[in-house]
């Protein structure tokens, strides 16, 4: 009886005189391990290195590359994909995926346009309505995923088709011409305006993208909500047991993604001038934004990566497109190289995740 317990304590006598430190956190330090550990802590490092390398290579290959106008054009080209990438980032951080981002963007832009032109609502109010409706579309994705527990891939594959079809039906496939927008609802084209410091045209849309990325970088790193987004993507069950309202976080994430998509829709009007239900973003926006996210080093398995990485990922795509065009190769090389980069990025992600061991 009590002797049992005494016996049991006995073997621990050997502990006396042993070092009093418990569970030391040894830092293993082979150079490769060190790199792995550093990448583990700094997930945006890989895309940044690739970006700098691409800039140097294209700078050497083409004299025209390092011109302010070229660089400004690259930023302008990635504005829409980058904003959709913000949406895709928060979703993928929760281990989800959003195939409907392009559809929400196009439908929201059409709704903003039609509010003004069909119903005569002031442009500013139309924009607010469009933003709210885009947020609502995202929230529907979130509700289906969080409460009906349907896989995000399936839900957004469905809403992508439903929203894009609704967009065509509602708009009767009609485009609102740029000149009309300019004349009666110029607020819709806000993000197409530009400033010209030193003669280089920089679109408002570029500033918007940078501000959105900066805000989201802050929110994801510096607020409790941001930490919860990562926790939900990392291990949802553990997050729930640790006190995270996982379903609420999921709904908020998809709603926020919808909001970003609607902003992207507004920017589309500025970039293209017209309001077009057939804009290619509806079909391609999802793949382009996922590409930026993946090249940006964000793990498709959730819980890892940074939105700054996504920004670099989008820039890499833009730099490749522009660089290869200036060098004068077949544009197909862009897609070829982007494809290689995607596989490389996922390979690196797998390797970094082994740093755990």
């Amino acid at each position: 009886m009590a002797a049992d317990a005494h016996q049991a304590k006995h073997f621990e006598e050997g502990l006396k005189g042993a070092s009093e430190t418990v569970a030391e956190f040894h830092e293993t330090k082979s150079p490769l391990k060190r790199i792995q550990h550093w990448l583990h802590q700094t997930p945006s490092a890989v895309p940044m290195i690739v970006l700098v390398a691409a800039l140097i290579v294209f700078g050497l290959l083409s004299d025209n590359f390092f011109k302010a106008a070229t660089l400004s054009t690259i930023l302008q080209q990635i504005a829409i994909v980058g904003i959709l990438g913000c949406a895709q980032t928060v979703v993928i951080l929760t281990a989800g995926i959003d195939l409907s981002v392009g559809a929400i963007a196009v439908f929201s832009s059409v709704l903003m346009g039609q509010m003004s032109f069909r119903y005569g609502i002031p442009a500013e109010l139309s924009i607010l309505i469009g933003l709210a409706l885009g947020t609502g579309m995202g929230a529907i994705n979130g509700l289906l995923i969080a409460f009906l527990k349907l896989p995000p891939f399936i839900v957004t594959l469905g809403t992508w088709q439903v929203l894009l079809a609704s967009n065509f039906i509602y708009s009767a496939n009609e485009t609102i011409r740029s000149a009309d927008v300019k004349e009666s609802a110029p607020a819709l084209q806000l993000w197409g305006l530009s400033i010209q410091p030193g003669g280089v045209r920089v679109l408002f849309a570029v500033f918007l993208l940078i501000v959105l990325v900066a805000i989201m970088a802050y929110v994801l790193r510096q607020t409790a909500w941001g930490r919860h987004v990562y926790a939900v993507g990392d291990d949802p069950e553990a997050a729930a047991l640790a006190g995270v309202k996982t379903r609420a976080v999921l709904v908020q994430v998809y709603a926020l993604a919808g909001f970003f998509c609607a902003i992207a829709g507004w920017v589309m009007i500025g970039r293209f001038g017209s309001v077009s239900p057939t804009a290619s973003t509806g079909q391609l926006g999802n793949i382009q934004s996922i590409t930026a996210v993946v090249i940006g080093g964000i793990s498709l398995f959730g819980g890892r990566g940074s939105i700054v990485g996504m920004f670099f990922g989008a820039l890499i795509v833009g730099v490749f497109e522009m660089g290869l065009r200036l060098v004068g190769t077949d544009p197909q090389w862009t897609f070829f190289l982007i494809g290689v980069l995607i596989i490389f990025a996922v390979g690196v992600d797998q390797w970094i995740r082994k740093a755990a061991a």
Binding site: Y230, A239, R304
Partner: protein, 260 residues
């Protein structure tokens, strides 16, 4: 014993499809005690503590805290009531840091404008607190409180989870096999911590397969078998082999509740 239990379960039932994990189970935890819960694998111990800590909703039965019927719908509710649990799976986010994990769901915000309006986390305060709590547990040589939990060993993770519960539990602390992955030294620290928590007047539920540990620290032993409480024994009046015989069904206890 005339005192009222601080945490009480009556007639708890929880089914998973065809499996009945809890089969009309009772549970009592008295103020200031260490209650050990022992039982075979699959007996339903983890399900029992999940039911009283809000992690699963029982299909039937009632739970009382301080004599008042409660209805936790999530672990957040239980935590708000001062019940802190170390789940068997530890409930940690592997990619997040030690400090992030310790404060998950109850983060500290900076004072003033940055915290109130900008919702900025007070990382220095959280890191300082986390480091202090790990030191108390003897996990003192942590260089980097910002390292991801997944870079820790199983024992270290368990240490962090125990530190988290001990730091925040104000009413009841529940530990589901807290020393399973720990070495001899670390287990000893956890036992010391358990005794220390009790000396602060906070009762503890300890699920463990380690009979020497159970018999060393427990005031009462709840023997769980086939989804319900088989008996409650006094560790001073029974041997470990008796306890093992009861929980495996090799022997039937004469007295179902020595404390009745």
């Amino acid at each position: 014993m005339t005192r009222e239990p601080i945490l009480k379960g009556r007639n708890l039932v929880k089914r998973y499809g065809k499996v009945t994990a809890l089969d009309h189970c009772d549970f009592d935890l008295y103020p200031g005690e260490i209650l050990a819960v022992i039982g075979d694998n699959g007996a339903g111990k983890s399900t029992l503590i999940k039911a009283v800590s809000g992690a699963v909703a029982p299909d039937e039965g009632d739970i009382f805290l301080d004599g008042k019927k409660i209805n936790f719908t999530s672990p957040i509710d239980a935590r708000a009531a001062g019940i802190e649990t170390v789940y068997q799976t530890l409930a940690m986010s592997p990619a997040l840091s030690i400090a992030d994990n310790m404060f998950m769901g109850r983060e500290l915000r900076k004072p003033g404008f940055m915290g109130k309006v900008m919702r900025q986390l007070d990382r220095p305060a959280m890191e300082k607190f986390a480091r202090a709590k790990l030191n108390e547990l003897g996990l003192m040589t942590i260089q980097n409180i910002n390292q991801a939990v997944e870079t820790l060993s199983g024992g270290q993770r368990q240490g962090v989870a125990v530190a988290r519960a001990a730091a925040f539990g104000s009413k009841v602390i529940i530990l589901d096999e807290p020393t399973a992955a720990l070495g001899v030294k670390e287990s000893r620290r956890v036992l010391e911590l358990i005794l220390d928590v009790r000396s602060r007047g906070i009762p503890i539920v300890l699920i463990s397969h380690n009979m020497p540990h159970v018999f060393e620290v427990a005031d009462r032993v709840h023997v769980h078998r086939l989804g319900k409480r088989l008996c409650i024994i006094d560790p001073k009046r029974h041997s470990m082999s008796d306890a093992v015989a009861y929980m495996t069904g090799a022997k039937v206890p004469e007295d179902m509740n020595e404390f009745a």
